[in-house]
């Protein structure tokens, strides 16, 4: 046993040295005016109600996030995989969901005459897209189509780097890279680019953007832009948190169910493993091995 541990230690040490060398090399390649690795700045790690093994969504927060999506982001970003009916998970009654859906128009048809027509949306419909197709969306936005929001909170995560990505497994169970990223992006527009950096026309500097130094979206949210009716602060910081949480829900609607089931499964497995261990000890008790 001791031998195996010593071996493991040596293996670990060797690996660590190599990691250290590599990380150092990456650091050295950094150039402030024309960076080659993105994002330029790592997102700040926020506190989320849905983090950790017992995390749950804060329904009030999701409702505020929905409001922001509806009033601001939905002008450009679609959310095609989310059905109105699932909004009941945000704490809305069936009538409220119906009324919410009815504010949207969707294309349907053909009718008996063979014509396509528009009608009011019903809960079974999905959020309609603001643009007819990706080309139209890109044409209206400086050549970059605003990405769909259904999965954006799972489709973006900034690499955590060594050794953080290992620590993340057992310490904190970090799975909130998506919302952290969106929050950082939305609050990261105000900064001035470093001296000498060229920002392509029609794009906006944001050191948190994952793919480049600037992006085609201008700062979408400002203090006071959206009116909250639950008394929460109407600030950019609050808006950003709320809409990020909402997007996490849109991407992972069964998160609460998953964590709840997980807890039961874990309890069962731990008890089961304990019983097996006791049984194993008894069966092997009279046998040297």
């Amino acid at each position: 046993m001791k031998k195996i541990l010593l071996g493991l230690a040596a293996a670990g040490l060797g690996t660590m040295l190599a990691f250290g060398g590599g990380a150092f090399a990456e650091e050295a390649a950094h150039n402030a005016a024309e960076p080659t690795h993105f994002p330029i700045k790592h997102p700040e790690q926020m506190k989320w109600s849905f983090a950790g093994p017992f995390g749950t969504y804060d329904k009030q927060q999701l409702q505020r996030g929905l409001k922001i999506y509806k009033e601001v982001c939905s002008a450009c970003h679609s959310m095609k995989l989310v059905a109105f009916r699932s909004l009941s998970e945000l704490g809305y009654s069936e009538a409220q969901v119906k009324a919410f859906a009815a504010e949207y128009e969707v294309k349907d048809g053909p009718n008996a005459e063979g014509e396509m027509f528009t009608r009011k949306a019903i809960p079974a419909d999905h959020f309609p897209a603001p643009f007819a197709n990706e080309q139209a969306a890109a044409a209206a936005n400086n050549g970059a189509a605003p990405p769909d929001f259904s999965l954006i909170a799972k489709a973006r995560a900034v690499e955590r780097g060594f050794p953080q990505f290992l620590i993340d497994i057992f310490w904190g169970q970090y799975q909130e890279g998506g919302p952290d990223y969106i929050h950082a992006l939305l609050t990261g527009f105000g900064e001035t680019p470093p001296e000498g950096m060229k920002i392509p026309e029609g794009t906006h500097y944001n050191p948190y953007f994952i793919a480049a130094k600037s992006l085609a979206m201008a700062q979408p949210l400002q203090d006071g832009q959206v009116t909250y009716d639950d008394g929460s602060p109407q600030t950019l910081a609050q808006y950003s948190k709320d809409v990020s949480a909402f997007l996490m829900w849109a991407a992972e609607p069964h998160l609460e169910d998953r964590k709840k089931t997980g807890f039961r499964v874990m309890i069962f497995l731990v008890l089961f493993a304990g019983l097996l261990y006791v049984a194993k000890r008894r069966i092997w008790a009279d046998i040297e091995h």
Binding site: A11, G22, A155, I169, H254, M266
Partner: protein
């Protein structure tokens, strides 16, 4: 072992009736109940059983996923999302299947390292080892094609890169690639044939697993001492001894599996695979699943031409060679001693090999530039050097430690030095 006598005695009339016609109960009894296993097996030996369970788990979750999945480029991504959102417990099925693939590979790597450490590949277990390497190849093909099915960005670009390797081969390269793709680029025909093969290969794996277990039951298991079983006191009956120990190990493994499924289901995946495939947008870094990273690093380590072999072909040959070399490991190891326990130098190099494999994995996730390339080249050199130079050479020059005469002697010596009452050599067979 098998081939010898069978200790199965049918008691009831119906058992006798079946036994005289198709002795399947006898086969099962002899293979999984009375079957003698070395008494000194440690938990490294539990991974074979764990792998069998993981294969069953992948097949069950996979078959149910396939009921809801649509293998069409226009539908695939959304059909998987429909599973995640609308199918009852669909999220669970899908996370079990995608994390299950990772756990499957975790187990298989441990299983293979166990084999390398205890010399499990040495005579008379060469075929057993070779069957294992075939299973590994089939698993890699299965997992690669499975990863293409959700039709995300990494699915598409991973498939493009990997099938592109084949074009490195002169003359036959292009036809092979076109056969794989069903055309000239990754598209609907590719997705369809990958789905068909992804459904087929796990059952072929199951077939090879049967051969693997058959071969195992002919030669018997190795054990940490590497000494063959000599007498009855060296072994215990599979049931209850190995059964309960394997079950306990499996339950621990399932805890780890459940931990990822329920708390970190996307930790081992790549965020880009939640973006629908787009043939016009190349992701910044195309990286394979974590369990392929060491091979990816070796592929990209060859940045230079070697005579008539250009760097691309060289990389591909290196990558395939890194698996192919496993086939001849039984003949590369010249040592008369089986287990690393009694081989101080081999043990040292073994752990460096492990560290090197982990380092290559990390390098596979880095961009192929600067220091990373140099480290990958060093790592690749060590990977092959371990098999081609160290293994044959150490067997000739290393002085092994004294080897006990039998498993029983080794076990009793250990308990004695551990200060526990030694007792007489218990005759474990009695419990079987």
């Amino acid at each position: 072992m098998s081939g010898g006598h069978s200790s199965y005695t049918p008691n009831t009339g119906i058992e006798k009736w079946v036994d005289a016609r198709l002795p399947l109960p006898r086969l099962i009894y002899d293979s999984f109940v009375a079957y003698p296993v070395p008494r000194n097996l440690n938990y490294a030996y539990a991974f074979g059983g764990i792998l069998a369970i993981m294969l069953v788990s992948q097949i069950i979750t996979g078959v149910v996923l396939a009921m809801h999945y649509a293998a069409d480029t226009g539908l695939a991504f959304n059909s998987v999302e429909k599973i995640m959102r609308d199918v009852n417990s669909g999220w669970l099925l899908r996370y079990l299947h995608s994390n299950g693939a990772s756990m499957f590979f975790l187990a298989v790597w441990v299983h293979i390292f166990r084999g390398l450490y205890y010399g499990s590949y040495k005579a008379p277990r060469e075929l057993l080892w070779i069957l294992g390497v075939i299973i590994l190849l089939l698993m890699m093909a299965t997992a690669f094609m499975g990863y293409v099915l959700p039709w995300g960005q990494m699915s598409f670009w991973g498939a493009t890169v990997i099938t592109g390797f084949f074009t490195a081969f002169p003359i036959i390269g292009d036809p092979i690639q076109q056969l794989l793709l069903g055309g000239f680029a990754v598209d609907n025909p590719t997705l369809n044939r990958f789905f068909s093969l992804h459904y087929l290969l796990p059952f072929m794996i199951a077939g090879v697993v049967i051969l693997h277990v058959w071969a195992l039951h002919v030669t018997g298991q190795t054990n940490p001492t590497g000494i063959e079983v000599k007498s009855k006191t060296d072994t215990v009956a599979f049931t209850p001894y190995a059964t309960i120990k394997d079950a306990f190990a499996l339950s621990l493994f399932l805890i780890l599996f459940a931990y990822f499924v329920f708390y970190m289901p996307n930790y081992m995946g790549h965020p880009d695979n939640y973006i629908p495939a787009d043939s016009l947008k190349t992701p910044a870094h195309i990286v394979p699943e974590w369990y392929f990273l060491p091979f990816y690093a070796m592929l990209r380590a060859i940045t230079f031409n070697i005579g008539p072999i250009n760097s691309k072909l060289g990389g591909v040959l290196t990558m395939f060679g890194s698996i192919a070399i496993l086939f001849i490991v039984p003949w590369l190891d010249t040592s008369k001693v089986r287990s690393a326990v009694y081989r101080p130098w081999y043990k040292l190099f073994f752990w460096i090999f492990v560290a090197n494999a982990i380092m290559l994995g990390w390098l596979g996730s880095r961009p192929a530039e600067g220091i990373y390339t140099i480290l990958s080249q060093l790592g690749t050199a060590f990977y092959f050097g371990f098999f081609i130079i160290i293994m044959p050479l150490l067997g000739l020059i290393e002085t092994p430690r004294r080897i006990p005469n039998s498993i029983t002697e080794a076990v009793l010596a250990k308990t004695k030095s551990g200060g526990q009452p030694a007792g007489v050599a218990a005759a474990p067979e009695t419990k079987g």
